[in-house]
């Protein structure tokens, strides 16, 4: 907005450095997906064999699909619940230590305790386990993370616009969708990205709350189970494809968006 106060240059340098840090190991990871040998840690020549292997490895592909399903559902549910919880907590008159502790708990409970607890609980209930139980379980910690991010944003939120909306005849619900939500959107998006990322990568809770069958194996479960005999670069190939496809999809949708807005 103004050259006296904020030059764009330092920001660009910071972004360059930070993104460099974030993508340095990713470059290695991608490189290793073209590694002829199967060792995860040393280079022995270029090959695309792992991509071929990946395409015929239905176990990995199915696990990737399951992970995506789990992450999407867990993200959607936890984003909704977490945002509402954040709103509820920040608009309360009195801070309640019990509520605060409840919202912190999922973050500090060791994964294994939660995993064992859930499995014990689900089996006592006689619940059939599967992807749905993984989703239910992931929502527990995802929602705490979402809530935490959204609450941070709400600390200095100007609630008068919410009042204005009610005053203009909008119900609480409409106000949420048309005013609170769009204004909170950056933090809700941040929370959702966080939840998605946590779910995609979560292993121990998913392992414990998955059903016994193949149909509820997630990618981290699949990958960790490969440790004993060595993780092959198939997984790197998969990661490369996942990141490549996501990035391309985003860029295309952005480009379409801009095309639409121009005329």
């Amino acid at each position: 907005m103004n050259a006296t106060l904020s030059s764009k240059l330092p920001g660009r340098i910071v972004l360059l450095l930070v993104f460099g840090f974030l993508y340095l190991p990713i470059a290695v990871l991608v490189l290793l997906s073209f590694n002829a040998s199967g060792l995860p840690t040393s280079w022995s020549g270029f090959s695309t064999r792992w991509y071929g292997a990946l395409l015929s490895n239905t176990d990995i592909l199915r696990a990737a699909g399951n992970t995506f399903i789990v992450a999407v559902f867990a993200t959607v549910i936890s984003t909704v619940l977490g945002t509402l919880l954040a709103l509820g907590m920040e608009t309360r008159r009195r801070k309640s230590n019990g509520l605060e502790a409840l919202a912190f708990a999922p973050m500090v409970i060791p994964d294994i305790v939660l995993a064992v607890a859930l499995l014990t609980f689900f089996s006592r209930l006689g619940l059939t386990m599967g992807l749905h139980t993984i989703v239910i379980s992931h929502v527990i910690f995802d929602l705490a993370f979402v809530c935490s991010v959204v609450r941070a944003r709400l600390k200095h939120f100007d609630f008068s616009i919410v009042e204005a909306s009610r005053d203009l005849g909008a119900s609480g619900w409409t106000t949420f969708w048309r005013v609170t939500f769009p204004v909170l959107l950056p933090s809700i998006v941040a929370g959702a990205l966080l939840a998605f990322t946590l779910s995609v990568d979560e292993f121990i809770i998913a392992f414990f709350t998955a059903g016994a069958g193949r149909s509820s194996i997630t990618l981290p479960m699949q990958i960790y189970s490969m440790i004993r005999f060595g993780i092959t670069p198939e997984v790197n190939a998969l990661a490369t494809i996942v990141m490549g496809v996501s990035a391309t999809a985003l860029l295309i949708s952005q480009w379409l968006n801009r095309q639409q807005q121009v005329p």
């Binding site: 616009i161 204005a164 009610r166 005849g169 909008a170 048309r178 769009p182 204004v183």
Partner: protein, 348 residues
């Protein structure tokens, strides 16, 4: 002028405290249908708080609020057929001007074309048409205020609560908006409750006005009443300019201060005489009963205010004279003056 006598809004013994701070204190007030009611009072006296209770954003600690005879306490803000224009605007930052204005109408589920028409019309009357597609952050202070006003106006509610609606506007625009508000009062039949710091605005526009202080209602009445017959010293001083002369009422019914005597009906005892600057007549030294000297002259555009030191009071008396007649006087001049007994008030 437009006020009929049935109250549309009845405020009964309403009070509100924020912790130790009492913002509104036992206010009882009737607002009549279709009247233009102005709320005045010093900064922090509880005006905004009162409006916020009417709109439903604060729940009173005491008392109740009746709209057309029905207690509206249980109604959430969106169910109350009144609208509030926020002192701090509270514009939706993510919406354009047009979207801000359309919002309230969309809530009424009006047809698109109807919304468009009414928004266009309101933007035109508030001079906002050219900013229709801007976001609030791209507007100047006065433009933002007009958006806030327009957003409330476009709803045409039964009762419109305006919290300092024109404060950021220049005189011309303010006058234009005042006319617009008056037009809506007459044509659409809206009841207005308006908070303003601009006394002239209140005096010119309001059918009735109320003066609040420290959360309490001091006086309610037509502007002329309040101006001419202020209920107490505070109101007298708050509305318009008032000279106060401390003195005594004698058994003869005459108010007397050093070098000054005025016929006044009051009980014997110490008293304060209040007289407005325009109600003091001046003349050459010796012509009129009280003599004094000019210590300052203030230029107010269409007239001058002479500050005249007399023996009657410690602070110089302010005397307002037309600018055209002011050329004659300069600081240091001696003069004489006279107070019209019919046009002053006595506070005891």
């Amino acid at each position: 002028m437009n006020a009929s006598s049935n109250p549309i809004l009845r405020i009964e013994g309403v009070g509100k405290a924020f912790g130790p701070v009492t913002a509104v204190d036992d206010v009882t007030l009737d607002i009549r249908e279709n009247e233009f009611f102005a709320l005045l009072g010093p900064s922090g006296c509880g005006k905004t708080t009162l409006l916020r209770m009417l709109a439903g954003f604060e729940s009173p600690n005491a008392g109740r609020i009746l709209l057309e005879g029905k207690d509206i306490s249980p109604l959430p803000p969106e169910k109350r057929p009144l609208n509030l224009m926020f002192q701090s605007y509270a514009l939706f930052p993510h919406m354009t001007v047009r979207q801000n204005l359309s919002y309230g109408l969309e809530m009424e589920r009006l047809a698109r074309t109807e919304i468009h028409r009414r928004v266009d019309e309101t933007m035109a009357t508030t001079d906002l048409t050219q900013f229709a597609d801007r976001k609030p952050e791209q507007l100047s202070g006065g433009q933002k205020q007009r958006v806030a006003l327009a957003r409330a106006l476009v709803k045409r509610p039964k009762v419109l609560l305006l919290d300092e609606p024109l404060g950021a506007l220049d005189k011309k625009l303010r006058e234009k908006m005042q006319l617009e508000l008056k037009r809506m009062q007459n044509e659409v039949g809206i009841t207005f409750i308006i908070v303003t710091h601009d006394q002239e605005e209140a005096l010119v526009m309001a059918d009735r006005m109320a003066i609040l202080k420290d959360g309490r209602l001091l006086q309610v009445g037509a502007p002329e009443d309040v101006y001419e017959r202020p209920a107490d010293r505070f109101v007298a001083n708050f509305i318009g300019v008032m000279n106060f002369i401390d003195g005594k009422v004698g058994v003869d019914g005459l108010f007397a201060a050093e070098g000054l005597q005025v016929k006044a009906s009051g009980n014997a005892g110490s008293a304060t005489l209040a007289v407005r600057p325009e109600n003091i007549v001046i003349g050459p030294p010796g012509d009129l009963p009280v003599s004094g000297a000019i210590v300052d002259i203030a230029y107010h555009g269409l007239d001058r205010v002479l500050h005249v030191k007399t023996t009657a009071s410690a602070t110089p008396l302010q005397v307002r004279i037309p600018a055209s007649g002011a050329g004659n006087w300069k600081i240091g001049d001696a003069l004489s003056l006279k107070i019209d007994p019919a046009r002053c008030r006595l506070f005891q």
